[in-house]
Symmetry: none
Subunit: 408 residues, 2 copies
């Protein structure tokens, strides 16, 4: 028996998406509809009804963890996802290269999506000296990266420096708790951000960009302060070894944090140009090579919805459907169970994660099929799974007969 | 107003059970279908979705208790169920008479389902002397029994000695926690099991059985170590006095643990040959004699499914249906509410408890009926109860107008 979980990021939508329908309803999805037909359907509140999920907290919840207990923030997953080593006590951040004016007013949160001189910038940031603590920065793609502050008596209970909008000053980081360590860490971060401007503003790559009329990467904006979470490893919790196939650092990082083998296949970018079939192929290889469980993450639909772009989201969902078709051609549903769902809704008009539930379907030989024949938010309301809150993995593994009995 | 809860153990199934249908779907169940028709239907996750229930934890959850909080293990229910007195601090076990070779390798976990000399064996086991602790063994039916270790500084945080399969050695019991008391109890249990072999192997009954080519009951295998759970009595929780009608020791024990009057009527065996009508008659008597609530447990369907025997499970479900018919003839649904469900699914192919939900129906004058007209896993998906997690008793008692208001 094998188990496959596919999460289409930001899958769900609203009737305001596109001509009175959601993007998923508007898309042509013969393969997902086939899954719905043979499987059991329902609505999933990724965390619980009335909670607006982050992608990270939603994934933890879907994997069977309680994000209220284990989640410490996003930064640690970003750091793990781009291959940084995270030690106990490290404070991890998602780090954006950005452009500010002399007054620390944000001109661009992405430094013109800079895609050059990243090694030079990385070296400069890692050269920043701070009293008592070590600074470790790693660049990933374009303006993206992660940063670790390593030292004694630090806390992740601090606010973001990234103001999340342009035209305003970089936010002064504050302590979120009364611990001395939180106040100390906030001071360190504020000092670091000042220093990052000092070392970056006159860096040759930035001088060159300014001469070319491009925006310089003259500051590091930090957000999502977090520590290594205390999470029971997936294989200890379920007794199952699994792999995760994703393009985005966050998802690879979550996979690493829970002890799944994290794979970013050739062509997987975490963007809407990602090669979805190559992800399915990588998943099939993992199963062939002996893994019992594989998780595939498709990011693009969420990105399109963040851009308020209904047509692109519909197109991306249709590409996902084709990838699912490829999977169905290569998997024996007498010997595998598949769950397909989203980690949250991202409606087109809102352009951000919403608390609306997402449709879910589970198919495989042990599943009692319902009457639903179409995979959509509306059709799923009538499904036999009803409305469930997170915990997709234990439900999927239940069909695979992999759960330990609770009691006797 | 009266309330009746009927639990058919292991009731639920999968489409793989029998010709593409579950055993329940395959059975002819006019009386259960009548309940569905007049009542409200749904799917019950005995504990919650994605949890594979034991019969004991499932019953606690259905009765409105949180098994994560109150469950300490199975042994105490077995001990109570066969009439043993359990004191605070006692460590209780389910005890099997079994057959091992000189090397403590298990030949038969049930000592050939021995059904003779049980008093002689009981006396021999109770004669075993251990330093500091008292051994109390009671035989129930065939190879089954329960054992209590009574003394100071004992813990139930230990593993099973029963390897749950043949051909392997009796498992060395280990501490599951770091407490000194757990290590001490593990040592005591290991020593006791050695001693049980010493006193049993040459017992006249076993010599006789060996001469007759039968398997001797030459060892006691212990499992399900547990202590008296801290449970709020049923009548204090709900203000309702009730009785439980069951054949199996486990269910009678759970009933006693929560303070229900436990009744094993004539002909109730806890096996598939059990007299189901006699159970219904006993329940009706309890109601007649003034009890407000009665719980009836039917075990057989689960046993058939554990034996992978679809036809017997179907037949047993049909016998349950006839017993429900007898009940419906003798109960006034204008003055009673009936809930009928299972404590978990036991699919035929898997042959053990699965995490699949079970159908549930509640009928009576205060119930809003839905459109479901057939009692089955598939039909229940469309019921008005939706998908619920445990807590059947509070829902049933809600219809009876017996619940205290929470708030004002």
């Amino acid at each position: 028996m094998k188990a496959i979980l596919i999460i289409a990021d930001g899958l769900g939508g609203r009737p305001t998406d596109y001509n009175g329908k959601t993007c998923l309803e508007s898309a042509n999805t013969p393969n997902l509809d086939k899954l719905s037909d043979i499987g059991i359907n329902g609505l999933l509140d990724p965390i619980r009804p009335g909670v607006r999920p982050g992608s990270d907290t939603a994934h933890l919840s879907i994997f069977g963890y309680d994000p209220e207990k284990v989640y410490t923030g996003r930064g640690v997953f970003e750091a793990l996802g781009i291959g940084m080593e995270v030690k106990d006590g490290d404070i991890c951040f998602r780090a954006n290269l950005a452009t500010v004016d002399d007054d620390f007013r944000v001109i661009d949160r992405r430094a013109g999506r800079i895609n050059e001189g990243l090694k030079e910038i990385e070296k400069a940031i890692n050269g920043i000296e701070m009293e008592d603590v070590e600074i470790i920065y790693k660049s990933s793609v374009e303006h993206r990266g992660a940063l670790i502050i390593r030292g004694e008596n630090l806390s992740h209970n601090i606010t973001d420096a990234d103001p999340h909008k342009v035209g305003v000053k970089v936010t002064k980081v504050k302590a979120l708790s009364r611990e001395k360590s939180a106040r100390r860490t906030a001071e360190i971060v504020n000092k670091f951000i000042q220093k990052s401007y000092q070392v970056l503003k006159d860096l040759p790559i930035n001088r060159k960009r300014e001469r070319e009329g491009k925006l310089p990467a003259n500051i590091v904006l930090l957000r999502g302060a977090s520590i290594k979470p205390e999470i029971e490893p997936f294989h200890e919790l379920y007794g199952i070894e699994g792999s995760a196939i994703a393009g985005g650092a966050l998802y690879l990082g979550i996979a690493k944090a829970i002890g799944l083998k994290a794979i970013k296949p050739e062509g997987a970018t975490g963007r809407k140009d990602s090669d979805l079939i190559s992800k399915v192929k990588a998943a099939l290889e993992e199963l062939d090579e002996g893994k019992d469980f594989v998780f595939i993450h498709f990011k693009g639909a969420d990105s399109c919805a963040h851009d308020h772009d209904a047509k692109s989201k519909i197109e991306f969902i249709e590409r996902i459907d084709q990838a699912v078709g490829y999977l169905l051609e290569n998997v024996d549903l007498d010997d595998a169970h598949i769950a397909f769902t989203g980690d949250h809704s991202t409606p087109i008009e809102f352009g951000d994660h919403s608390a609306d539930p997402v449709p879910i379907v589970i198919a495989g030989k042990n599943v009692m099929p319902d009457d639903v024949k179409r995979f959509s938010e509306r059709a799923a309301m009538k499904g036999g799974l009803g409305r469930i809150s997170g915990r997709v993995i234990p439900i999927l593994f239940g069909y695979c007969d992999w759960l330990e009995k609770f009691g006797a």
